[in-house]
């Protein structure tokens, strides 16, 4: 694996190279140059909120208040936030497990996320689904499911409906570098490409799929190369530069909105935490994580840009950090007070009609089977002597 280790290390250089490529564009041509001062600060806010909220979840996880696994996007906050920031309110986005930042941008509340992770009854899915697997059509995001790739054809259909109805709306779907290997990804992006659906497909090249490095996932030199096989526009950017991410996604969104169809956007980033919190990352070459943490943290980088290039002051940014902490504290307090689901709520809403399932016959208080079966004589009692129910 020696030489391959270098290949993984090589991603560093790629990232830098790509960054340069994106940044080299004349500043005026960059959509991010048109962002207001407030919006630029907002980008920082969403990234900081993502990280702080996830850190809070880690604390709750260690207190065993999180039910199930915990998934981090540490080091990928720019990818999620910068891309979703390029959407309009009416656009629809479908996130993956490392796109909590995108969901926040789309209006998901920290309180909702905390309740989800704690499997509370007033969480968005009322305890039915895990972690950030939830959505809201009104706010413009659709919850993922676990089988990877499936959201790509679903978003092909969402955006097909925009086209059919002549709606001025765009869709954006995230897919992991690993999930590009699925048949669902392939069928979905191909269908969207043929139909010229207004869809942006963001491939998050975070170098790993669980423990599997990208070179075991595909022989393609880079994910963006896949665009040509689908006959769609392919763009690539440094996923740890939030403005570059915004710029590239905005270009793709504009392309979609103006009838150009699908763009495959590759964002190059790095997953600094394990697949989930339990994963000890034994498979990561020594020093790799540390390198990214020290040299290419998206929040640190943007913090620097804000101070050094965009004329913000340290107190301004500190104020954002403080606001985020307060919001997460408040949400945590509320979430902890939330009730757990009522067991019987499980019966509601498998179908629109019937609106609820009935409890099965063997459950206390449900004697339908007994009552139906004339000859039934006993329930819950047994006479050992006679060998019959009383």
């Amino acid at each position: 694996m020696g030489s391959r280790r270098q290949a993984t290390g090589g991603a560093r250089q790629d990232a830098v190279a790509v960054e340069r490529r994106t940044r080299n564009k004349g500043a005026a041509a960059r959509p991010s140059a048109l962002l207001s001062r407030e919006q630029k600060l907002e980008l920082y806010y969403w990234m900081r909120l993502t990280r702080t909220l996830e850190e809070r979840l880690v604390a709750l996880y260690r207190q065993t208040k999180v039910v199930g696994g915990l998934f981090r996007s540490l080091g990928q906050e720019a990818d999620a936030v910068g891309s979703c920031f390029a959407l309009e309110r009416r656009d629809i986005m479908s996130p993956l497990i490392r796109n909590m930042g995108a969901m926040l941008v789309k209006g998901a509340a920290p309180l909702e996320i905390l309740r989800q992770y704690m499997a509370k009854g007033d969480s968005p899915t009322r305890g039915r689904e895990l972690n950030i697997h939830f959505g809201d059509l009104d706010r413009g995001f659709i919850g993922q499911i676990s089988p990877l790739g499936d959201m790509v054809p679903v978003m092909a259909g969402v955006t097909l409906s925009f086209k059919m109805r002549g709606q001025d709306r765009v869709g954006l779907v995230y897919v992991g570098d690993g999930a590009t290997s699925t048949g669902a990804f392939h069928e979905g992006i191909n269908l969207a490409a043929v139909q010229k659906c207004p869809l942006v497909v963001i491939v998050e090249s975070n170098q790993y799929a669980y423990s599997t490095p990208t070179w075991k996932q595909t022989a393609a030199k880079q994910m963006v190369d896949k665009a040509v096989g689908y006959g769609v526009q392919g763009l690539q950017a440094d996923g740890n530069d939030v403005l570059a991410v915004y710029d590239v996604t905005k270009a793709a969104v504009d392309h979609a909105r103006s009838g150009g169809g699908v763009t495959l956007v590759e964002l190059i980033t790095y997953r600094r935490k394990g697949h989930a919190e339990h994963d000890n990352q034994s498979y990561v070459p020594d020093g790799e994580i540390e390198w990214w943490a020290a040299n290419n943290d998206p929040i640190d980088r943007y913090h620097g840009v804000l101070l050094k290039e965009l004329g913000f002051t340290a107190p301004e940014l500190d104020a954002v950090d403080a606001r985020v902490r307060d919001e997460v504290d408040a949400a945590t307090e509320l979430a902890e007070q939330s009730p757990f689901p009522e067991p019987h709520d499980a019966l509601q809403g498998v179908y629109a009609d019937p609106a609820a399932e009935t409890p099965l016959w063997f459950r206390e208080g449900t004697r339908a089977a007994v009552e139906r079966n004339e000859r039934a004589e006993g329930w819950g009692t047994w006479d050992a002597k006679s060998g019959k129910g009383a």
């Binding site: 059509l137 054809p153 259909g157 097909l160 089977a369």
Partner: protein, 337 residues
Amino acid sequence: MGDLGRQVGEGRMSEITYLEGIRQALFDEMERDPSVFCIGEDIGAFGGAFKVTEGLAAKFGDERVIDSPISEIGIVGAAAGAAHMGMRPVVEMQFIDFIANAYDILTNYVATARYRAFLPCPMVVRGPSGGYVRGGPFHSQNPEAGFIHTPGLKVVYPSTVADAYGLMKSAIRDEDCVLFFEHKYLYRRIKGELPAGDGAVPIGKARVAREGKDLSIITYAATVWKALEAAEQLEREDGLSVEVLDLRSLAPLDDEAIQATVRKTNRVLVVHEDTRTGGIAGEITARISESSFAWLDAPIMRVTAHDIPLPYAPQLEDFVLPQTSDVVRAARWVAAY
């Protein structure tokens, strides 16, 4: 009404085929509701491998009768996405056998959308199903068992023209995903009249295809016709009065109708064309056992295909699939028990 409408519409008072019944329902619903659209392989100008969608593209345009790539995952997923946004997609599987390719997205994504995410997903997946046509192992399947097992999906499988028409209407109007199995052996062999009026047939209701008092045959799809043939022969030759229950809906099952016929005749034969082990006959048997054990005068017996991938040569296909003579023989056994 457009061309197709008139064409088939004129036939309303006269006889149309099972296939035309489906087409007419698609036509009527597309005309009624602009959010209904069709997607599938070769369904546009070509009208589909069996011509079920013939004329629809000419009437409603390419955008509402979409020729798709060969991508069963893609079209089912896309239908789900469009359905979330308020459309009413009807997906054609060129042969229902290829629904296997969409098993994940149907059972994991579509079936659970309402429950896990409160996302409406009103859509229909339809396609030519079943054997007796020398189609071999991949153009003859009856995949209902894998889907009635999936909470969140509805499954219908009509055997008559009126049901083909009426269940398609209800399937398209349903707020959830309905799998609509069409028996290709019946496509052009069965004729009938459409009812006056809307003609929608409710999902979840069985149909007594023939009244009887000595024995009940519970079945659906093509074997309804075999059961009816057998019933006639049994009446003629044995003086047996056989009731035939056509389930029509496989999910949800019509427990009331099943109970009613069982409690009436006290003897049951469950017949289906699908393979035996794990087929829906087991489920029906279990429900009867649970609800009406005390009414049974004989074991509930099954007449089904053998547990064999369906071979293609007529001699072999006929051997593997249940035939009318099998139903007759089995019915005699149950009646005589």
